[in-house]
Symmetry: none
């Protein structure tokens, strides 16, 4: 069944808020085997009429958000009634609910609020425990409608996410389940790939995957990461998985959408081992990513953000002579930073970063983007990798932490 | 002029990523006096053709994102060429740029990548310093096109935000400025307000600003920050500025869109003073924000991410007895952390954070979200602030660093 989403609200088109409805709705619909085929955002007003009319010609299920409130620019309810040829009927029970809500909060009920108690005839009311505007469901399977309309199920939902989201889970999903054919839900798997570009990933496995009949394939390239999405029947997803694991095994961080930092923290926790970091060019971002993972305190002991050379020497015991001889951005200093952090924090592993984030500070021999990453471990000798990530400052930090975490991930694998 | 935005990408429709393009583009277009009238998201494939065709009948300016990459599901370039009746021409210079980019990173160039060097005839190439796919601009004012088309300016932009955003600022905005009628670009000023909620800001200045004729006013509430946007003639923006500064002075971080961390780094640099940070619950995020500012190394000396209690005692000389008596999350420990960091790093200021980020670790007396922030300074006694930010882990870190940086900003003001 085709699904379309219509988001109404001038504030969305002005960029005053980021529209998170599509991501939420799509994620909730996916396990039901439903995909959003198209999403449109229009400002409050007449554009809502056009958007609804167009979706009615294409989609069996239409989800519209916003425009159900009390103010003059909230028109979705009235426009829908008009398009479907339905009268608006006053519902005393809805008004009673609004009055009770207002009185609990000590707010005066204005005449405007009454509008929300008018409901297009025949619509089912979806309760809104987190706001005044109820949601509405229209079952149009047996309704009189224009011959061009294919829409059989229409939902009008409130605009604020904290009202829409619980209403969707509690009221909309149960309705959708009753209208879906049994056994319609496909499998989906997302492989996170680090250390290969999108075109390399496709060159290595694209042809083999395209040969699997019934497989839907998607690539999502982020900076320093490619997400590979395979969708189809259980058997098809399993066949694709074999191809992917065989060709890309060492580059695959997770097959269940987990991030690099989640995988690293879990691996360390499973081994009962600990980590510290010594950061120069990443300036705390590496520690930040690790400590974003709930429960990171079980494995993460300490971070040393030794931006100044004197801090490298004092906190990590990097010899000033070594810095003078090789420069702070060098394999030698990276190695001593990692070893110094491991000794000071008394941990099993320590990662260090030293590089030139830019925009200033580059030289002929060490241009902006040069970075050395070291991994010290109780199990074997310290390893140093050199990379070049010539990009902007924040993306440089991202790529350096990707490479650092992946270095440790491979060691733990 | 009508503007429409088309976002392509199956990952958007599947909810795998949140579509932030509309909010970004709308905010950048707003100061030019341009408003987005409609935004649509479609999956990779033929739906792109329909979306482009429809926008061509309605909008003078069309901005399409995504689908310019090297893989088989990247079709925007080809579909556009077909719709506009343009041949695809191979551009050796584009290919050269891609090859150089790949060789800098040590990645092999595959045949697939070549696709990105094919450009519809007559399109202007918009350089992409942050990725391989160039953007494209089509000036259709004098082009042969279907009679139903009203589109005069079409931009194809890359999907990843970190490629699109700089390209938009550096290449698209200058083009848009040349096609807008002279004098059409109003003045725009953005005040960043920290420490007040949106409704407080509106209550304090809303009525006074609404009384200024010809002023367009926008609020953009982010977590821990409200951006107040005033647009109009030079005189109108100046009058609004007086009202805003009088009412909100101590809450205004900047009147030129500078971030809190930029303001703090610049203030320190101007005074020739230095800073260190001691972080527990923010886990490196405070240092990360400071070191995101180019030139931060002039003022930022060292960060101590003392996640474990033993690290607090060893690196910052926090007495174990003090931790045992008050708990690691306490005003006493926050103060000793800041003072310990200031002494160890030999700096003028030190900020410290200790709190309960959650989801675990909360107690009756110190629930999740509790945090103590201390500021030690050479100028006066250490100050400790207590806050409650009960939210998710990453937003907690954001709010704590907002409060920390703002504490220092006020001290430096």
């Amino acid at each position: 069944m085709n699904v379309e989403v219509i988001n109404t609200g001038t504030e969305i088109l002005l960029g005053e808020i980021t529209n998170t409805h599509l991501a939420f709705l799509a994620q909730q619909l996916f396990p039901l085997g439903l995909r959003v085929q198209r999403q449109v955002a229009v400002p409050d007003g007449d554009a809502i009429r056009d958007a609804l009319s167009e979706s009615f010609t294409r989609a069996e299920i239409v989800l519209a958000t916003g425009g159900l409130g009390p103010t003059t620019d909230d028109l979705t309810r009235e426009i829908t009634a008009e398009l479907l040829g339905l009268d608006l009927v006053y519902h005393p029970a809805v008004m009673q609910g609004i009055k009770e809500r207002f009185s609990r909060r000590g707010i005066k009920v204005t005449d405007r609020v009454q509008r929300q108690a008018f409901v297009p005839k025949g619509a089912m009311i979806l309760e809104n425990p987190n706001g005044t505007a109820p949601g509405l469901y229209f079952n149009l399977e047996h309704a009189q409608k224009k011959s061009s309309s294919v829409t059989r199920h229409l939902f009008l939902l409130p605009g604020p996410p904290r009202e829409l989201q619980p209403m969707f889970d509690d009221a909309v999903i149960p309705i959708l389940k009753t209208i879906l054919p049994a056994g319609a839900v496909p499998e989906c798997r997302v492989y996170r790939v680090v250390g290969l570009g999108e075109s390399n990933v496709e060159a290595m496995i694209g042809a083999k995957l395209l040969a699997i009949e019934g497989l839907e394939l998607g690539y999502c390239a982020r900076s320093g990461e490619v997400d590979l999405r395979v969708i189809g029947s259980k058997a098809v997803v399993a066949s694709a998985g074999k191809v992917i694991l065989k060709a890309l095994k060492k580059y695959i961080v997770s097959a269940d959408n987990q991030s690099l930092e989640q995988v690293v923290v879990q691996s360390l926790a499973a081994r009962g081992e600990t980590i510290a970091v010594a950061e120069s060019c990443t300036g705390g971002f590496l520690a930040n990513r690790i400590t974003n993972v709930p429960g990171a305190s079980r494995v993460f002991v300490e971070g040393f953000i030794t931006y100044a050379n004197k801090a490298k020497s004092r906190a990590l015991k990097v010899a000033p002579r070594l810095i003078a001889a090789n420069g702070a951005v060098s394999a030698e200093v990276a190695a001593e930073m990692a070893e110094g952090a491991r000794a000071a924090a008394k941990v099993d592993y320590a990662l260090s970063t030293t590089g030139i984030a830019g925009p200033g500070g580059g030289t002929e021999q060490k241009p902006v983007g040069t970075v050395f990453i070291a991994l010290a471990s109780k199990h074997m000798a310290t390893v140093v990798n050199k990379h070049a990530f010539p990009t902007d400052r924040e993306n440089f930090k991202w790529l350096v932490t990707q490479a650092s975490l992946d270095m440790l991930r491979k060691r733990l694998a």
